[in-house]
């Protein structure tokens, strides 16, 4: 290849890896080594306490500190996270939502300490609350004040941090929750409309700012294994976004109507069985969002091959980065114009998606928009139904997943022969260290300054003034993430989103289902009353899709199911189990904090004198599963147990065994 040809190549998208764990210091080391390996942007994973507005020493944070991301409690943590990384030259994406305004304020304050002005910063705060209600679960406040916080950030950044994407509308998590491409497009656009309408209604924003605001909205898409359809999905969204900008918001400049999006490819389809196959899936999924130049992503994050097994190690993440580099630097992909323009097949599929998505979008708008469709549970119920259909198709074999429900005969994988060492083990002392660091910081800061800054935040929240300037003052004064959130909780209140599990029973003439139903009735007769199951999600993990599917299926199999939703404490679970008179407790934990939380539940059951069998589902490495069983857990399930009817059949066995014991 000659030098000129090389120069003619398109500039590649930004390469990122979603990462962060244990502590700001450990994560800083990880970021620096990732950048040295050729990563071109950062994607910060925060731990669940940070995402849900609790300090590391809050009781609800127990077991969760540093698990799924980095704990950031105050400005010194943020400063440490980016030590040696010049923020005026870095493009940082932060997966932060309910507490986004507080974390952006900490980022601004940390940049100041580096001598970098806010106006020089570039990056993204995810800041999409609607999908938190629908899928991801790290919401804190009710919808109305949540949208107001988002609108405040948009109004603030449009002039103060002009290269910032204040919100990244996520269809990613909708697909993880089971959305079809049509639902993914429609609900993401409904969400964008809710935000834009709120911004347009602001009195403090000059009218000419709206087109610029429109131009700053970006999206975060999923890319599934049906990569041709996914290409068409990105093209359909590009088309619909352009039209929405022109028709609804009068954005005249076509540049400001460009559909800009980042991608994390699908994690839902990654398997625990034959995990080496996941590398092939990840490559194909990356093609879906890079092949079409006119609908190509701006930034790409690839998961690691072993995500269904546990937390990926640096080497696993490096492998995924290399996929991006080979695709962008070795292949000829970036040398051509759009490969699909003029293809009648692509055009027809895109048209079909646009038509379907427009109809679904109109339906949501007619019921009052995305916020109304969260509160009345419409979107959530549709997602739970789609997910149920998807799981049924996999169980029945109508949808093939190689290595899981087809071609399961395989050689042992050398990649996992090392057992649990094939995943990252988070340092269990991280939580204690984080608490010590936090307390030391609280002791040395100027308490009067922090109090005054918090009072300013409360005033802004109450009066309706933009919360961003007050939040930045809080960050500078050493207010912690938990204190910032508590101040807003006091003004806005807290929220519980609908679970969507009221979705109708699916009629099935499946002999396996009939067999279990008969067993449920028989065991119920033996127990004296119908088999009653408690499905609980302890801890701060909000990924409720699995728990919801178990609850719905258990109902369809004839059980009486108490489902409490997300974020319940072990104490609440024990109280519910006893008061409700259940026969079995099922716990779902995906954040890796199963060790602490499950043992806590078992201990409290013992203390309360309640003898009930406990089963656990989640991303649980085999060594941990063995420990849980040794501690008294009746059964442990992991992603490879995709056949829910079989799993619940075993729950019936467990109930029967407990009754006979």
């Amino acid at each position: 290849m000659s030098g000129e040809e090389r120069a003619a190549r398109e500039k590649p998208w930004v390469f990122r890896t979603y990462s962060g764990h244990s502590s700001a210091e450990a994560s800083n080391g990880l970021y620096r080594s990732n950048l040295a390996k050729g990563q071109t942007g950062l994607s910060v994973a925060f731990d669940l306490p940070t995402q849900t507005g609790y300090d590391s020493d809050h009781p609800l944070a127990r077991g969760e500190v540093g698990k799924v991301g980095v704990p950031i409690g105050h400005v010194e943590d943020m400063e440490m996270l980016f030590r040696g990384i010049p923020l005026d030259r870095m493009n940082t994406s932060m997966t932060i939502n309910a507490t986004a305004a507080g974390l952006l304020a900490l980022y601004v304050a940390a940049a100041e300490r580096q001598g970098v002005a806010a106006s020089q910063l570039s990056g993204t705060t995810q800041n999409d609350i609607v999908k938190e209600y629908l899928s991801r679960g790290t919401y804190v406040f009710p919808p109305e004040p949540s949208i107001r916080l988002i609108s405040d950030m948009i109004a603030f950044t449009v002039d103060a941090i002009p290269k910032w994407n204040p919100i990244n509308i996520c269809s990613y998590h909708l697909q993880e929750a089971g959305a079809t491409p049509v639902q993914e497009i429609a609900y993401a656009l409904a969400n964008a409309i809710a935000v834009l309408d709120a911004v347009r209604a602001r009195a403090d924003l000059p009218a000419d700012a709206l087109p610029r605001v429109f131009g700053r909205l970006s999206f975060f898409l999923n890319a599934g294994i049906r990569f041709v359809e996914e290409t068409c999905k990105a093209r359909a969204m590009t088309e619909m976004w352009d039209r929405l900008g022109l028709d609804r918001y009068g954005v005249a400049d076509p540049e400001l109507r460009r559909f800009r999006y980042g991608v994390q490819v699908n994690s839902l389809g990654l398997t625990e069985a034959q995990p080496e196959n996941n590398v092939i899936r990840i490559v194909l999924e990356a093609l879906g969002v890079t092949l079409s130049k006119n609908a190509r992503c701006r930034a790409l994050q690839l998961p690691a091959w072993n995500e269904a097994l546990g937390l990926p190690r640096p080497w696993d993440q490096q492998w995924s980065l290399r996929i991006q580099q080979v695709l962008a630097y070795e292949t000829d992909l970036l040398e051509y114009g759009d490969l699909f323009d003029g293809s009648p097949v692509i055009a027809a599929k895109t048209r079909e998606l646009v038509a379907g998505a427009q109809a679904e979008l109109d339906k949501v708008l007619a019921m009052g928009g995305a916020v109304a469709a969260v509160e009345n549970a419409y979107m959530k119920q549709r997602l739970v139904e789609s997910h149920t259909r998807r799981l049924r198709a996999i169980e029945s074999g109508a949808q093939l997943v190689i290595g899981m429900n087809a071609y399961t005969e395989a050689e042992p994988s050398p990649l996992v022969s090392a057992g649990s060492s094939a995943v990252l083990k988070v340092d269990e002392s991280a939580e204690r260290a984080a608490i010590e660091r936090l307390r030391a910081f609280r002791n040395k800061r100027n308490a009067a300054d922090a109090r005054a800054a918090l009072a300013g935040l409360r005033d802004a929240a109450t009066s309706g003034a933009n919360v961003m300037p007050a939040s930045i003052r809080c960050a500078q004064a050493g207010v912690t993430t938990g204190e910032w959130s508590d101040a807003l909780r006091a003004v806005f209140g807290e929220y519980r989103a609908p679970t969507g599990v009221v979705a109708g029973a699916v009629r099935v003439a499946d002999p396996a289902v009939e067999k279990i139903r008969a067993r449920v009735r028989a065991v119920g007769a033996k127990l004296g009353r119908p088999l009653k199951l408690l499905v609980g999600k302890p801890g701060l993990d909000g990924h409720s899709n699995g728990a919801e599917q178990i609850a719905v299926r258990a109902r369809d199999l004839g059980m009486e199911v108490v489902y409490e939703g997300i974020r319940v404490t072990p104490a609440e679970i024990v109280q519910s189990a006893r008061d409700e008179g259940v026969h079995v407790i099922g716990l779902s934990i995906l954040s890796g904090s199963h060790g602490v939380l499950v043992l806590d539940v078992l201990g409290r059951l013992r203390d309360a004198g309640v003898k009930l069998p406990v089963i656990v589902g989640g991303i649980i490495p085999e060594d941990d599963a063995a420990q849980l069983r040794a501690a008294g857990v009746a059964r442990v399930y992991t992603p490879k147990d995709f056949d829910l009817t079989r799993v619940l059949g075993e729950v019936v066995d467990v109930a029967e065994e407990a009754a006979s014991a």
Partner: protein
Amino acid sequence: MLARDRNAVAPALNLADDSRAEPRAAAREMLALLEARVLFGGAPRVGLTGAPGAGKSTLLDALVRARRARGESVGIVAVDPSSRVSGGALLGDRVRVRSAANDPGVFFRSLAARDSLGGLSDATRAATTIMAAVFDVVIVETVGVGQSEGDVADLVDTLVFVAQPAAGDTVQFLKAGVLELPDVIAVNKADLGALAERTAHELESALSLGEKTDAKWVPPIVLVSARDGTAIDALEAAIERHRAHLAAPGALAAKRRRGRDAWLREGLARRYGSYGIAAFGAAGALNARLAAEPDASGFALALRLAEEIERALRGGNS
């Protein structure tokens, strides 16, 4: 239980729900004993019913908070429909009632309606009786579809119907024969303003046309918003006014007796049909039989009347 011990409630509820012969006999004995205590006394019983999505759970949460703030302990029975296909049920109201979490002063038991054709199962009456012996107030929440508002009206002292504004069908629904049931009507989501007010007016005019079982009580219509807590006090005040209304001599006893009788008639008819009821003699004989036992526990009476019918049916066959 009689010592009002919270820890005794869950085992008692499990026992009352047990269909095996031996526990059933023990449960009957326990319930008869408890009902003798609470038939005309015990905790006030408040029912909360309305269409799905009307905001019952959120309102329940607000009411529980209000009661807890006054230092009262609260027992809650929440009834959800069972699937006709599988027999299973999703009992999801705990999600919305956060005031129950971690508070020993609140006891929450979810029940499935089971095969009672949209009505309340006997387990609901049993649970209410047990809780009425232990807590300061019992709240029964049901989805207002099919039989259940009639059943819950027979079970509680004060029935609150939660209406949703804009649902033109709310009024239609009330006109369709259940208008005489509620003692208090809460129009939820008062934050919808004009719409909620219009619904309240429609309900008011519909009510003025309807007939009431209690001629001396005009059901107040209260605009509330469970979301931001608007007028929860006014709703509480309306419930308390109805309670004071029932404090007139004999009023509460008459109401509870009516409920007991309706439950017995329905249960016996469901189990033995009109043929079985005829065992008592001519039409109205069962009513006379019930009137002759004004102070008997419903559970004890149910057992005795069932035995009488079975004896009569056996005698007829021989």
